[in-house]
Amino acid sequence: MNIRGIHAIYRYEMNRSFRTLIQSLVSPVLSTILYFIVFGAAIGSRMDNISNVSYGAFIVPGLIMLTVQMQSVNNASFGIYFPKFIGTTYELLSAPLSFVEIVIGYVGAATTKAFSIGLIILCTSYLFVDLDIKYPFFMLCFLLITCMTFSLLGFIIGIVSDNFEQLNIVPMLIITPLVFLGGSFYTIDMLPQFWQNFALLNPIVYLISGFRWSFFGVGDVPIFTSIIFMLIFTSICISIIWYIFKTGYKIKN
């Protein structure tokens, strides 16, 4: 295995984030703080507890998920799309790197960035709400796998996209609405019956539910359903990437 090659890609991607620290780190943290102020303090103070959890604390897992999913997709998609855009993918393809190694480098960096942001938001939330995490180890694992899976999804988007518009279409028009409607700020049972059934078609519901379970021991769906769904989602992303590299789709001529 070309460990140095993987490390080179990983380091290069991480350095790119440090060059744009405000955009990479400060911006998502600031957005989350604003969510806490608006939903947690202003609106949340007038809301009842949900499953014996204050509304401010209740939205923490949803806010973390909202941010890490968007960050994972954006970082990974831009990470691989930018070399495609400026034409430097020739370097990757002509280097003694396997496709798996290229994916590990890019997805690893995007996962690290999103995971770090998730942890920073978690720490920030302690400034606003009292939080007691019931299953901290499970929470970290679930967060890490979510970051990795959405980074894989972002990598696919970056490969498939032919221009910046296409690069933004999936995150803006598909992932953002699904995350907002996936129970970030409410539980599914707060919806009318029809919309409850409809919400269960949203894959993000299972991820937010699973993550919230790790915090409070309760979720919209059983935890095993969330875990199985997560594994299916990860497997689908890995299979698509395997197909892309096997066929050279949008990578090799």
Binding site: R4, G5, A8, Y90, L93, S94, A95, P96, K252, N253
Partner: protein, 306 residues
Amino acid sequence: MSEIINVQNLVKKYDNNFTAVKNLNLKIRQGEIIALLGPNGAGKTTLISTICGLSSITSGLIKVKGLDVIKDYRKTRELIGLVPQELALEPFEKVINSVKFSRRLFGKKDDNEYIEKLLTKLQLYDKKNNIIKSLSGGMKRRVMIAKALSHNPQILFLDEPTAGVDVELRKDMWSIIKELKNEGVTIILTTHYIEEAEMIADRIGIINHGELLLIEEKKELIKRMSVKTLKVKLKKTLNIIPIKLKKYNLKLIDEGKSFLYYYNTGKERTGITSLLSDMNKIGINLFDIQTEETSLEEIFVKIIKE
């Protein structure tokens, strides 16, 4: 010289059914400079792309130092450096970081001494901490070469290395290429500039419509294909070519004050002596003679047309 690259029956067909390379065979010797000439769309870049791993192969076999470029891709790619046609560089990165990144991709340990030496050779040392975006086109081209050489390859592919650069820089590039050859690097370059091939290549390959039309030692090719022109200025004007000189296919010019005689330097006899002797016999006196040699460009155009 031993063989370093062996391309056997290579075919490259794109999804739209266009065949860019048709059953191409090519052997490249270690330590030589080979120039691949051909018009746009001839298949030169596709050939390079398949050897370097940028394009998949439809059929055929490519071996680098006896190793298959698909099965043993890690080993073969370690031997190759590639400078593509387009200036493709991360604009916001420093020169030195970009070159180090390329070396690391090849699984090599950092070697600051080697990298600094390389940058010095390419006259980039003073610019090593500059952001690539701030460099001129010529400097960017040098960075591309530095990146391709960062892992110390034995083979260097240069796809149109001097396209769009000024004359002075082009000459600098030629001296860099010659220096690399002296260090033992095998160089394969594609070019539109015949002059470039004429100046630096050991062998010349001509590609058109995905086929290798010929590959030959440059000097041999010029000698074999070269047609020289002898211009004979006469003391007295001729109205027509005399019957005794018809066999020489002479062409009267300058209103009969001169004629042209074409001869091939590759042949054993040029026919000049007998022409001059026959002229003397029929009393045609010459005033002056000049010769002109066919350039590689004319040879190239002739082969492509054929």
